[in-house]
Symmetry: C2
Subunit: 333 residues, 2 copies
């Protein structure tokens, strides 16, 4: 059977490029990717997914740190945990939950759990801009995979799976465009959030491609609250730009938009189309229902577990597309 | 050192009564409880909290089944899991998460995890009316403790910890009364829910004690949605009963009440005081903030772990009081 090296020689690329073709295809130019894939096929190369990077131990457990509250709201955490457990169980493993201080202060807890062989590796989530955990774990040689990117770093230590926020925003813009909207605003968060910047970039790019205006159509809310979403919507409606669509960075901000529209006697989904992010339980309990971008939890969990229990060493980066769940808030205007 | 039996003989009660005095004092008449407590003190009896009912195994893990979605919304599940992990860790244990089918179909999964010594015992939650898990686990001799009661059964198999829903509703009624409200309605769920009946009973009792009307002031919503809460509120406001307070069985129904009041130009917290249940993240993101009954998560988790890791055999039943978190939705009218 062919090796990675033979594939690289055949395609006249580096081993790293072949690895990227397998694990982070979006990093490659289309023609390079095609050439590598042809070599993979011709040489019948198959990455050995059975080789286990995690040490075989008596207990097959994967550690997951429960995010602390009340600092953060996790409206879809139960969905994520259910999917993660189910995916781990399909490989004969279980999830061990633990608590740890945020940032580097929590690292000794991770190290201790791994040293005592309580867990084979970790799934990280609630990734933050400049998150220090990834580099630390990589330096210690402790297996992990991240749900979410470390923003604003040129290279991210270790493998990750994430949802394409920019792609999601663009999807929302195209949907609103298709239902007749031509002046689509964006409700976001402060610039310090990498996640927020990713999503606003997707909105901006999609508007430009469709020839829609963007100037003066972004409002950055200080907090992720219904109140701030409503205030930002009022600002947009009073701004004289005659907006007919709103892409909100979160379901909570979108709920604020729906409230402000309702308060002014404007039927959401008719006068102005509104979309949210995450398809949280909130999206279904309001009326009209909120159109929102659902994270593909089962696929996310499956990829995380596959990467963590697969062969080590190959950089794995998976950017998954969210799914637009259409409800009344974006009905044709 | 005195035994349970000696205490029983001294107080002239059964061993079961002494056990109740220790673990379920609310079951005893005040004079019996006092007599037993005096005997306990005189004989210097101390329940042996160090005797471990859970088998000592290599891995000190407690199993918790992640509730399935999307059938249920768990807006405070992250809070519960964080508290449960922290409490387990204070005893040197961790939480093992797993998935299982609902009801008796899931029981083989519990049995298997216990038989393979993956876990020492289980914490159950999302307890349902006539929940079959408790009796099954008890019959198998598998250690467990339940967060939540099995409603509509005369006796519940195994120990439990729960929050006093009736007491919480009564607390909300008294608070609204103290802020000047005299016609306080209740937004609930269908009668089939034991939890809902518990909470409506607390509302009714408190209203009666305070001499407030109850007739025609209960609306049972079919679903736990903002929409149903708003519709029920409209029905109450149009019913000619001039209501000035609403105790809602959930934060989601309460949000519906706030929306309907807002739609009619009535300022929530002024014209009509509104309270919710659970103090979910929703309560803080609306404006005015929603007054809500918070479940004492840390205390709940502490009791669950103490019971599960404590001596077996003694029935333990702990009914904890929720805490009323007051916000703008119930400001003085």
């Amino acid at each position: 059977m062919a090796t990675l090296k033979q594939v690289a020689a055949h395609a006249d690329v580096s081993v790293q490029t072949v690895s990227n073709a397998l694990n982070a295809p979006h990093r490659l130019r289309a023609d390079t990717l095609e050439r590598v894939n042809r070599s993979i096929e011709l040489l019948n190369y198959r990455p050995n997914r059975n080789a286990r990077s995690l040490r075989t131990s008596a207990v097959e457990l994967i550690g997951y740190c429960v995010p602390s509250w009340p600092n953060q709201t996790h409206l879809v955490m139960d969905q994520f945990l259910h999917a993660l457990c189910a995916a781990a169980e399909r490989t004969g493993r279980h999830i061990l939950l633990f608590t740890a201080p945020a940032g580097v202060d929590g690292m000794p807890t991770y190290e201790d759990l791994h040293a005592r062989r309580m867990v084979d590796g970790f799934v990280l989530s609630q990734t933050e801009t400049h998150d220090p955990r990834h580099g630390w774990l990589k330096d210690q040689g402790i297996p992990f995979v991240s749900f979410g990117r470390v923003w604003k770093e040129t290279t991210q230590p270790g493998p990750w799976v994430d949802v394409d926020g920019a792609g999601g925003s663009a999807m929302a813009v195209r949907h609103l465009y298709e239902t007749g909207r031509r002046r689509i605003a964006f409700l976001g968060w402060p610039k310090s959030s990498g996640l927020a910047e990713d999503r606003v970039a997707g909105w901006r790019d999609a508007c430009k491609v469709l020839g829609l205006p963007t100037a003066g159509l972004v409002v950055r809310c200080r907090e992720d609250s219904i109140d701030d979403g409503a205030r930002a919507t009022a600002q947009l409606l009073d701004g004289g730009r005659d907006i007919d669509g709103i892409v909100a960075l979160s379901d909570i901000l979108a709920l604020g938009a729906l409230r402000e529209l309702g308060r002014r006697g404007l039927t959401p989904g008719h006068a102005v189309g509104v979309t949210g992010f995450d398809d949280s339980p909130l999206a279904e309990v309001v009326s009209p229902g909120l159109t929102s971008l659902r994270q593909p939890m089962d696929q996310i969990a499956e990829e995380l577990i596959t990467i963590l229990t697969g062969p080590a060493g190959e950089p794995a980066e998976r950017l998954l597309q969210p799914e637009l769940v259409i409800r009344g808030s974006s009905a044709p205007g």
